[in-house]
Symmetry: C2
Subunit: 175 residues, 2 copies
């Protein structure tokens, strides 16, 4: 965890937060939300926006890194925005977390068998094969995605497309 | 497809576009990109942002709906933005498309068996079970996601979290 020193000399920690938002599906909402993070110096690591079951609303999951001490203010500002129905910190909540990744790996006819084996071990589906590459689709918790990336690095990862973190409440709870 | 009439009287079609972007992972990039769409009246339907294999870059996939005639200008403006390495229209490209969804469905002990069956038919994994709900994870092309949503509507869909469309080039091609 990186530690920054603020102007008042107090050391503050940089921390990664996961924020779950439920917003009206209207133009401009995304910009207003992104501005709240930018003004407080938070970097957005990943962002997922898509239509909710009711298409007049959208669900967003934001993973952002920044100064722990200003995070409460960000959450308050987000909640006050027009068109934001709910904004909550889901970092420590008991939720189901999943991510999707498409990974294109170098695989010559000689190494293809090995790459298939590793893909199977990770319960990944092969979605496409080229002359020198294999493209797999894999789902799981974000930590698994990092593990897969580092295992395939041995063969050569040509391209990775990740969805970022998706959250849904455990049991009967609705977020 | 909705048809709008512009000021000059020319009828223009609203169309859904998929844009693939490769950008520097710097604060503010997201806002500048969102502004380009907002200024031209394009609504962002879904957006996926996550770190590329090289973490100093991010990959974005945007699905946006708007006036067909202004779309070329949007693409040009995106390409000119600082920190945008590449912006391209992937709407008609031959790419692998996948999406991830977490769906929480009403399932009493009586209907649970049925819901399991449907989930299996769609090759979906059950990721959580509550007293009155089942949460499944499913991956596939966006059309499959819509089909799943409508099938489960019969039982009652409590919550849906979708990743939006992820794209990766076919064969050995890199986007």
């Amino acid at each position: 965890m990186a530690v920054n020193v603020e102007r008042n000399g107090q050391a503050t920690a940089m921390k990664k937060h996961t924020i779950s938002l439920y917003v009206s599906n209207k133009p401009g909402v995304l910009i207003r939300i992104a501005l709240v993070f930018a003004r407080r110096g938070f970097n957005i690591d990943s962002l997922v926006v898509s239509a909710a079951h009711d298409p007049s609303f959208s669900r967003m999951t934001v993973v952002a890194t920044g100064n722990e001490s200003t995070f409460d203010q960000i959450l308050k500002q987000l909640s006050k925005l027009v068109d934001v129905i709910e904004a909550r910190d889901a970092t420590l909540e008991d939720v189901v977390q999943r991510e999707l990744a498409l990974v294109k790996i170098l695989a010559t006819p000689e190494t293809r068998g090995e790459v298939f084996q590793v893909a199977n071990a990770f319960k990944s589906d092969v979605v496409d094969i080229g002359a020198n590459t294999i493209t797999i689709m894999t789902t799981g918790k974000p930590a698994k995605m990092d593990a897969i990336n580092s295992v395939f690095d041995k063969y050569g990862v040509v391209e990775v497309v990740r969805s970022g973190k998706l959250l849904i409440g455990r049991g009967d709870s609705i977020m």
